[in-house]
């Protein structure tokens, strides 16, 4: 039997940082997509929200439900009619040195003619009590095949942030 998962493309943020990480011309030859990112913000904030758009769609077509736990509790929320997909938390310069946050985004049936649903696991461990682990459900009310993903941070990603996009085949 053949392999199921293939690396489509990867990005490592270079010197100067980046305000976004973009994947374009994603082929429709797979069944699912899996995007694994390791991020850190250049800002002094304790955590930053990650979001992404699909096919550069800036319409009010994104919604989510989510919850996350931190050192002293749990919280959750939702978004609707948003212009991007809220999809996790990542740390900034207040995190310990060299600490990056991990987020995994899974999109089944990304090339289908159905509206798309998204699963996100987000983890930010730190040397202090500012840390998070959470789960996001996302929905894109568009039927187009996904050909592009653009990750956007509330502040720029620093050098050595990485993103790996995998294609998964079901046969």
């Amino acid at each position: 039997m053949g392999m199921a998962e293939f690396l489509i493309s990867s990005v490592t943020v270079g010197a100067g940082g980046a305000s976004s990480i973009d994947f374009t011309s994603i082929p429709s030859t797979y069944t699912d997509l899996r995007l694994v990112v390791s991020l850190r913000s250049g800002s002094s904030g304790t955590s930053r929200g990650l979001s992404f758009t699909l096919n550069n769609d800036a319409g009010t077509n994104y919604s989510t439900r989510y919850f996350y736990g931190y050192a002293s509790g749990v919280t959750g929320g939702s978004t609707s009619s948003s212009t991007d997909m809220y999809s996790g938390l990542y740390g900034g310069t207040s995190y310990g040195a060299n600490i990056f946050s991990n987020i995994e985004i899974y999109i089944p049936n990304y090339a289908s003619s159905n509206n798309k649903s998204v699963s996100v696991d987000s983890a930010s461990e730190n040397t202090s009590s500012t840390n998070y682990i959470g789960f996001w459900a996302g929905y894109w009310a568009q039927t187009s095949a996904i050909t592009g993903i653009s990750l956007k941070g509330s502040l720029a990603f620093i050098p050595n942030s990485t993103a790996y996009l995998y294609g998964i085949k079901n046969s």
Binding site: M1, G2, M3, A4, E5, T31, D32, S63, T64, R65, Y66, F67, V74, T75, G76, G77, S78, Y106, P108, N109, N114, N115, K116, S117, V118, S119, D121, F135, W136, A137, G138, Y139, K169, N170, S171
Partner: protein, 167 residues
């Protein structure tokens, strides 16, 4: 050195019509772990029930613990005594939300330990969940997985199910 595939698609289906359940059978015991990926199309019927799996057609010996967020609340729950392992809440009435389900079955083929499962389930119009399940039957290899709705609602036409083996 030649690349060795570690994640192998074992079987996949897209439902051509609404059915009560779908079963992966004759699962080979040659892998270490299994991953089940399900995409449930917006559903028929009304009400709220849960998606579950039965292993080897067993209707007892299950327990589990879950965390979920509804958008307005975060909850945890513990269950025992059900006829299967719950893997996802199921909002039949919403009509808008696809459900993504990803289940990992660890060490599924040994005959010495109870079997454990970690699951994620997401429906952006209903809730997002993470859960762990335990199958406490006298240890045997998992050779079939039946996906069904605990409340008896059919699985919607167009839903997709794929089973992967992990070496």
């Amino acid at each position: 050195m030649a690349d060795t595939p570690t994640k192998v698609p074992l079987a996949t289906t897209t439902l051509g019509s609404s059915v009560a359940s779908y079963t992966f059978s004759s699962i080979p015991s040659t892998y270490t772990d299994l991953i089940l990926v399900a995409w449930i199309a917006p559903t028929l019927g009304t009400g709220t029930s849960i998606m579950a799996v039965k292993l080897n057609s067993d209707t007892t010996n299950y327990s589990g613990t879950g965390l979920l967020g509804t958008g307005t609340a975060v909850q945890s729950s513990r269950y025992t005594g059900l006829s299967g392992l719950p893997i996802a809440g199921y909002n039949n009435g919403s009509g808008t939300g696809n459900i993504n389900i990803i289940c990992h079955f660890q060490n599924y083929s040994n005959t010495t330990t109870y079997k454990t499962m970690i699951a994620r389930a997401d429906n952006a119009s209903f809730q997002t969940e993470a859960s762990v399940g335990l199958w406490r039957k006298t240890p045997e290899a998992i050779n079939s997985i039946q996906i069904y709705n605990y409340g008896g609602v059919n699985l919607t036409a167009g839903s997709t199910f794929t089973l992967y083996g992990i070496l």
